[in-house]
Structures are given as C-alpha cells and as structure tokens.
Symmetry: C2
Subunit: 279 residues, 2 copies
DNA sequence: CGCTAGGTTGACGCCTTTCAAAGGACGTGG
DNA sequence: CCACGTCCTTTGAAAGGCGTCAACCTAGCG
C-alpha cells in the first residue's frame, strides 16, 4: 500500500475542524489503516442498496449524492468535495439509500467501517467530530430543500454559487474564482430545473455583471451582489460550531468581499402561515 | 413532577425499534429524568439560533421543522410525530438551524441534553439507536428533496400520503384512515406548492377515487393505486435496519393492502445524465 | 351571531419545460 | 493535421403546469 500519511493529516484536519482532538485522538487517527483508491469521472462509488464495509474519505476530486425516481428523473441531493466523508452513515445503517457518483477524477481513502466505528466509540472526541459532520451535512440538505422549494431560478443558482464558494473556502481556501465541477445539466439536477434553464439563468447572472464564466471556471465579480441576489446567510453551515479557528477564518474572508445584504430586511408575509402563539 | 413511566416506555420502544437494547440499557433509559411539557398548536418549540439545553421527545401530537427565506417563503423540511426526537442534534451542535413548531396540541418529554449525551456515550447501543434515528430522518429529508424537485404535484402529494401512512403505522399502527394534522397551505409548504394548488390536486386524487376526505380525515380507498401514482417504494425509510420486528410488521401490513407497482418498470431516460463508467 | 381560519373554485398570467437545431470544445483515429 | 464523433453549451419558439388574484363558502367558537 502506498504511503498515506498525508491522507491521515487531511482527515485529522477535517475532524479538528468539527471538534477539538487532543494529541492522543490524533495519534489514534494516524494508526487507522487507509487504502487509497482512484475513481474516474462518472464512476459509481456507492450504489443504492449496497452494503459497503468501508467508509470513503475524499482526498481529491468531487462527487455527488444522487437519487432517482422510477421514471429516471434525477436529483442531486448533495455535493461532496475534498475532505468530505462519503458513506459515514453505513457505519450504523446497513444499506445505502442513495447513489454516490464521481464528478471528476478522484482519490478516495477507504477506511474499514468497523475500525472507524470502534474509533468513534473509544474516543469520544472523534465520535463527536463525526457526529457533527453528519449533522452539518444534514443542515445543508435542508437548506437545499428550502432553496429548491421556495426560491426562483435566479436565486437558486446564486445561492448555490455562494454555498459552493463558502465550502470551497474550507477545503481549498477562499477565492472568488473557482472551477465548478458540474455540467449545466447536473447543476440543474441539483437545483431542480432543466439544464437549459440553468443556461439561461447563468446568462442572466452574467448579463447582470455578477459573474464571469469561461468554460467551467466561475469568477464572482461582485460577491455582495451575488449574496444579495441569493439573500444568502451562511448560518446553516454552522461555522460557529467549528472547533478550529482556521476554517472559520477562511469563511470570514467573504465578509471582506463586501458587506452582506441586511438580513431580515424584507418580509413579504406579514402574518406567518404557521402562527406565532406561545406555548 | 408528574409520573413519566409511560413516557420512558415509549422512549424505550422507539430506541429498540432502531437498535437492540439489553436489559441494562433499558434500565439506564428508565433512570433518565424526563420533564413533561405541553404545547398548544402553533407554539414554537425551537427557534433558529436557539441554544436549548434539553432534548424533546414527542409523546403525543404533531410538529414540523420549518425554514424560511428572507422574503418569508416557508418550507417545511420535516414532519414530526409521536415518538420522534425534536432536537437531538443540539446534543453536539450548539445552535438550532431551523424552527420547530407544534401543529397540534402536544405533549413533549424534555430530557437534559447532557444526560442524553452521557447516556449515548456510556451505552453504545443507545448511542447507536440515536445515531440511526438521525440517519433515517436524514434519508427522509433527501427523499423529500427528490420528491419536490422531480415529481409533479399529483405524484408529490400521493407520495407524501404514502409516507405519512407508513410512518403513522410505526407510531400508531397501520391503517388506511388517518387524520392529517396539516392545513392545505401547510401541506403546500411541505411539497413546495401553494395551498390552492394542493386543494386542486387533492380534488384530482378524490376524483380518481383514490382517496376520500372529510375535513382533515383522509381515507385511502385504493392503496395500490395511490402507491402507483406516487411510484412509492419505502426503501428510504430503512425498515430493514429496524431492530425490533414489531415496527417492521406494521409496515408489512401495507403489502397486504395491495400489490405494489413493479419497481423499475418505467425508465424514461435510457442513458443516465451521469454515466455509468467503472472506476 | 358575527368573527376568523380554512376550504373551494374560476380566470388569467408567467416562469419553466419541452422540442428543436446549431455552434464550440476536445479527444481519437485516419 | 484534419476529419469526425461525443459531450456540452447556446438560443429560439411554443406549450403547459403552477402561481396569483379574487370571490365565495363552510365550520368552529367566543
């Protein structure tokens, strides 16, 4: 097996960004046996119904979680990037309930589920870090549900771009220029619209001068305008929950890119549909 | 404080439906201090940004998790029913990232987060049960994302009704007749449509003879037809992961209500947008 | 017995999809 | 080095599902 010491450090960095790990915890992680594996674009890493006995940790490249209706309509329910854990939930759940597919060439570190499970149980901080990681991913899915259900095409795309920039800031470093590893059709599968409409909507963002795009490289010309369009607030990413200051610093960079829109400024419904009585 | 022994048994029943608990585990649960609390309809049990130090367990009544955009558009991201844990995630995450609101009158058992956390850590089976519970809820959210994003109004509502019947089967017992504790507008907030369109779509289901409705009481006249409309498969509910046979039996009842549609029968796209190469 | 929340229905309009076709970008093979 | 295929992007025109606006009805309740 190849040397995976760098992979171990990446994993430790990820875990410490979720919860504080002491020296002993980190040593325990280093003792994990990690098997490096490569995937090509479009490879199915996990298939619905699978019972994998390893848990994948993304070293490089991008993947997505997808679900399909019986008629073949696809929905991307999560985007996975370097540092993300692919099928942590199979530590306790027997079967995968969705597919995971590579979007780009990838390097994935496979860890035996049993080992990870023992580690999580023996070392409370590590278990806590994994737990937090799961919960934050859950929060991101709920935000996607809100985004797709209650915002129009322009806002949806703008919101996804904001989220993408924020999450990339954690794994790669903050930047207003990045490669989006999704085709327009896949972006549509994520935002619940057709690829064609994604195209038209991106053009609108371009015409507004908010973004520039050459191929799959996006440049955010006006972060403030983009965040305003999306009415983006990163609360749901739980940045304040993060143990290590490093990750938080990456996010704070975006505040520097421009003052955010004033949260709560506009409220269309005066009376909430679900009212606000006290218990 | 009132006697909560029944509440303890409800909680134990829930946990054993997620993972096997031995006698010692169950005794440990019984030693938990649970404080019963009542809520009226529309009460906000958790508010986004809150830092609650207790975890709520629903004894009776219904609630929902909601998120809102800055313009006041609401999305219900989860429906909570008796047996569900309200804010388990605040055991490890400091802040709530969404609201929880009572839909009906409710009785909620409050458990100190620290106690629950210690219990989960000291007794592996209980931690496992809680973990599984979280993951199944996550799976349900992903299915809702697929449902809202990739199915039309009729399918969406049919699918929600199927899911509702299945989940009620676990907590209350299987039945083709039940009360839906949601107004049509709230049903719309869940399925990402307007209340008005929910009304029209329910009428269509009624005209098709699939359901009958008097007030908020639904009767499924033809389970098979409803499941076919929705193309419903309950895999995502992870019934096979459930430790206790009792819960599974409740679900099997639905098979008796009629043969399900043949899964995978219809496939519109011959070539998946994300192709199927091997690694 | 009036008030309020919720259900029902119609007309109209728009955002998004569908259908269709053509134009790049890139790799492969001749 | 160019032809050619594949995948992706781009754009137009037409159709349709769902939202919006508006009115009326019903039931429960103080």
């Amino acid at each position: 097996m190849t040397d995976t010491s760098e992979v171990h450090e990446l994993l430790i960095a990820r875990l410490t960004s979720r919860a504080m790990l002491d020296e002993e915890d980190q040593e325990a992680v280093r003792r994990l046996s990690i098997h490096l594996r490569g995937y090509r674009p479009h490879a199915r890493i996990v298939r619905e119904g699978d019972r994998p006995n390893t848990c994948g940790f993304i070293v490089s490249g991008f993947a997505c979680r997808t679900k399909m209706t019986a008629t073949g309509e696809r929905q991307i329910v999560a985007l996975l990037m370097p540092g993300d854990l692919i099928n942590l939930q199979q530590i306790v759940l027997p079967r995968a309930d969705h597919d995971v597919q590579a979007l780009t060439s990838m390097q994935v570190g496979d860890i035996a589920s049993t080992h990870l499970q023992e580690l999580a149980q023996d070392r409370a901080s590590i278990g806590r870090a994994l737990w937090i990681d799961t919960l934050i991913e859950g929060s991101i899915v709920r935000e996607l549900l809100l985004n797709n259900g209650r915002r129009d095409a322009l806002q949806r795309l703008a919101h996804q771009l904001c989220e993408f920039a924020h999450r990339l800031a954690m794994s790669v470093g903050p930047s207003l220029s990045f490669d989006l590893p999704l085709t327009q059709e896949q972006l549509g599968d994520m935002t619940a619209m057709t690829g064609i409409h994604v195209n038209r909507t991106l053009k609108k963002l371009r015409d507004l001068g908010i973004i520039t795009r050459t191929g799959r490289t996006f440049v955010i010309n006006d972060w403030q305008a983009l965040a305003r369009q999306a009415m983006f607030t990163p609360n749901y990413l739980h940045l304040d929950a993060i143990g290590a200051a490093s990750a938080r610093a990456a996010h704070d960079a975006f505040s520097g890119f421009g003052v955010r829109w004033a949260p709560g400024a506009v409220l269309r419904r005066t009376v909430p549909a679900i009212k606000n009585d006290q218990a």
